[in-house]
Symmetry: D3
Subunit: 260 residues, 6 copies
């Protein structure tokens, strides 16, 4: 089974560490590759304008590479370009951190809080939460007042803030599960849950295990993405006629499983 | 990894076939046992009164056996006793067909229909669907006008009816995914999806793969069921003082993985 | 008109006092009996596992006794086993504290808070509130941090805590009505409403008056519980064939109206 | 216990028959008066502009007469002026057909359809249903294509149409309970439910029994309408200063209990 | 293009100032008249009973005057009588402050808070917000603890309180837009938004520009109010037969555009 | 006042006709330019993958051109890239067809249907409708089974289909207003509403008049898009450092007002 993780940013700086996290938690037989975008793309996606600059890249990568994979993961908690990518993924499943983390949380507790970086992120993420059907069980969105590049800059400081906000989410907002609302909040969940006593869903691990499950189920039960109605992909003829989504996909770095 | 499937009915008649389905679709390393209830319990759970007669059994089995398993599955699409079982499952995850099938459907399409046995079943199942957060993407609940014991009695007839109702669900209700709303609707999904061209979620396979994923994630990431607030289990001292949930669990048949 | 109150716990310790409350507030011509469960059942239902241990008892009692009553009340604010009991109540109406209290609150004010015992209770109760349609007018669920047996242990202390939390619910959460979220919170509502100046719905009185109204309406207008679709009861033949719900109902104590 | 029914129309033509229905279904000790508006008011309220012409009358009647009654009922399924009347009802409860019928239906079945006169009525009534919290359990609004004065003009024809639409509501829309969406649809519910086999809630009886229950509970438990926040009434001084709501209330006919 | 603003109160005290505000912000070619009610009507509408006293006036004014106007505005943030007025407005559009302000807010930000006068106002206004579809994006309703006549009595004090509450709404409730929840909160929005840095929607300006837009679109595209189903007006014959809505409309003061 | 309409497709084929429609309906003083994308972009946006190929273009155009305009309109009923464009529009308002059309519909009737091209479009559009808050008043989405380039290919055929589906939407789905769910469904609304008797909202006109209103209000009242929380734009320094959104915007054709 082959899974592709997309870091939809113009840096390969996170490829190695995320690849390692994935490889370490892969099921037997799962191979995972990590791809990131070429230079010139945003280095993070905190702003929606930045998202807009990478959605065509995500679509293109999924369109071109999905045939070689069982599953693809879009590595951003905004779930950027999820609907678009799913349309062209063929038989490969596509997952994303927010939707996957919510599915985990719903199995493990009655309510959850999301620890996001900044208030900036909340409106779109909250809309996604509602859209996915979890508006009623959202205890709170709690901002850490940290940007994407702050999380790993001073991990002690980050851990301290996360612990504080997590505690408030549990005690005051009555969350039974915490979700880390950014893929770059990796590395903290274990210590948090040890200390806070509730499961802390990591935004890298959740969509990965979800992708594995879906991909494995696709092999076993032929549960491929629906191609009916909204799931219908664009016609190949049109893509050729218009010469779109053709040519090489915009890959900056492709880290193969064996090289992780 | 060990998973326990509970057939919450007073017959072992489904243990073998469901055990086989599970074993055939198990991940490497997964062992699955199947348990059913002693005689004197209802033979199916179409009526809510019947559900009430088995919820204490489910709780008791989960309380006693969960420590030996990574995950437990309640084998009824009403998701009978799910909240109660989760409370006493300790570190084992507990899944159920309806909630799990919905999570699959949401990853594979924009909307779904559930093919239920009879209209009798719809109000509770629809309430569950809303409660789990999928009210907006439910295309329809379509009754097959078949009872639990009809599904496998004349499989050609059942297949024909399922195909008819599935087609209507897709074409008229605009469902992109179908869900089979009873664990005893097993054995039909492959042919249906070949013919109808949309994924057809089987109510045995979905909660099983979900349990595997959660159990595997519990091992990897220590994402155990939240024991905070609503997830707090009853105190052992009270159970002892009152002598409840003590004594042997009500097991009619226990089919071990090796004997499947 | 005859009404049956079920204390779904394995003690008759509340039968007398609740019987007295009911008798004192009964309409002319209403007779009310109180039944509780045999020993060996949980002494309270704060945990969902405990609920699961009494649902079959409730179903059985309703199945056997409902023909002798116009209405039956399930005496627990979780509304435990309500759907199941309603299925087998024949022409008798079945009410429960949460649903009934909400109906009262909606007639008396724009929004309400529920004063529950502990945070443990909130997730299921809040889900019930949403399910019954009152999610938008719920001002708050406020825990008193008291267990079922604490309420009457030190009534001055309980009254003080209730008054404090009720005041906060009104002033900070903007509740216009308070609901006492446990049947054992009896005896406090009068003083609370005198002091706080808003109606305080008692969880014993509300389902009782609701049962009286429904039972009286059943006599007058023949508005019996719907037996269509979800309301269809199990077939008698199946019950006989399987020998379920037969034999004596699990009654620990039956306090007759004349003996209250 | 004294209850006042308001026929908010400029005719006393319905006072007698509605008075009789109420008297016949009154609890022992309940006295019921019926009041209607003076000439010059609309003869029915199918149009919202007509509603606007009687809301001040309703408010005024409630303001002036409520002190002499335990409960007041606004006799129109639009629940016209309900919020306004409740504000000035003092200790008297105020009920209305739509909200009350829904509360009955929710106790007797899982879902309901409303048989309204004309499609004209549906938008406001459906909005009310949603507002009261029953949007999820509304099976359908089915128009009979009859106006207020048609219902009793040819009762055989009306019964036939009601029976037809009721049957469709049950069989196609899966309603378990029917509600008659106009107070002038009186006289039909008994035969309908005999034939159709589901409870048929009458829009005269439902708010009356609800008013009795609330009024009786007010006497017993002092559950009076909340006067906090949104329930705060206008200050008497302002009414006097501005000379509003003063002078005789606009009563066209007052039919006393003893004269019914 | 001619627009009519209705001050639905029994004083002409606000006609001049509101007329001036409107005139100053009118598009080229827009003429705006202001009408208020005769003496004997409430001087403000903080209480719902007061609303009930003016709804027939609003309906009557709209019925009689709408033919001379392209659009009519009901000048009260409760949107009093909006459904009723729309029914008889013929080809003229009818707008109101709450619905219009929400439409503006939804175009300018992700979430909004409403600064209302007193808590009294909140339940109805919040219900309106939900009814209009903005329940999910409502950040908060914040009371200023000021009545209608307080706003302009001491504008420095009012500005201070508004600024404080607005700041809290932004910083604590995460509002991105503020709405002033009363037409008499005019004159403050400019300074507030300069200081607070978010758009502050004025309840006079918003429904006026909305009315202009709708009226202009009606001229251009013939988008008149729908007269189908719920929008069907009462039949003229009935109005004549019953002699309702006939005679002079209840106008206390009519301030013509040229006289502003 | 200057408004920019973006045709987010790789053809200038619609620029002239849409420019003409806008110019013909512009308020005095409004100038409108039309821009479309360079060759190599999709010719329509029926597929979500196509949307992904133009979102960065939309963002870039808005970022670069917004300072010269009061308002910008994204000309696609998916409202593609709306959140992203709004983030970088500075003081210019940004509107889009779906959100704007819904705001019109809500002012003109109680419920609406959207006539979309194909079922393919429905899931995303329905999600948008729910997200904007209009899920409860959506009567139906009705597909015409026509693609974007079919609408104007045989206008008689299109008109006939639209009329048929519009009639069904009104009569069977109870819509009071129709919305044309594609900007290329221009030219039909007048005849449709003449025949069908309900307002038919055109997806070109609605966002244009909305943009005019918002832009005019921005000038008058300084109601600019909120830049707080979710509305915060990316920092200029980051754009420069990363060299993104810099360089010429991807304009294929720019049709100036004077040249229309």
């Amino acid at each position: 089974m082959k899974i592709l993780w997309i870091n939809p940013v113009g840096t390969d700086g996170f490829d190695g560490i995320i690849g390692t996290i994935l490889k370490d938690s892969a099921a037997p037989g799962t191979e995972v590759d990590v791809v990131s975008l070429p230079e010139g793309r945003p280095m993070h996606l905190e702003y929606h304008a930045y998202e807009s600059l990478v959605t065509s890249d995500i679509t293109s990568i999924v369109y071109h590479l999905a045939p070689r994979y069982d599953g693809v993961i879009i590595g951003c908690f905004y779930d950027v370009g999820l609907r678009e990518a799913r349309e062209v993924s063929g038989k490969a499943v596509v997952t994303a951190p927010c939707q996957s983390s919510l599915a985990f949380a719903a199995q493990l507790g009655n309510s959850f809080s999301v620890l996001v970086g900044r208030k900036k992120w909340i409106p779109k993420m909250e809309e996604n939460v509602r859209m996915y059907g979890y508006g009623d069980t959202l205890a709170s969105m709690r901002p850490l007042e940290l940007g994407v590049y702050d999380f790993q800059a001073d991990v002690n400081k980050t851990a301290k803030i996360m612990m504080e906000q997590g505690k408030i989410a549990i005690e005051e907002d009555n969350a039974e599960v915490l979700i880390l609302g950014c893929t770059i909040e990796f590395g903290f969940h274990e210590k948090m849950q040890d200390t806070l006593g509730v499961p802390v869903i990591d935004a890298v691990a959740a969509p990965f295990k979800m992708a594995e499950m879906l991909a494995s189920s696709a092999r076993l039960f032929h549960w491929y993405p629906s191609r009916k109605w909204g799931g219908e992909p664009p016609p190949e003829k049109e893509l050729l006629d218009w010469n779109i989504l053709k040519g090489d996909p915009p890959i900056g770095n492709l880290l193969k499983h064996k090289d992780i």
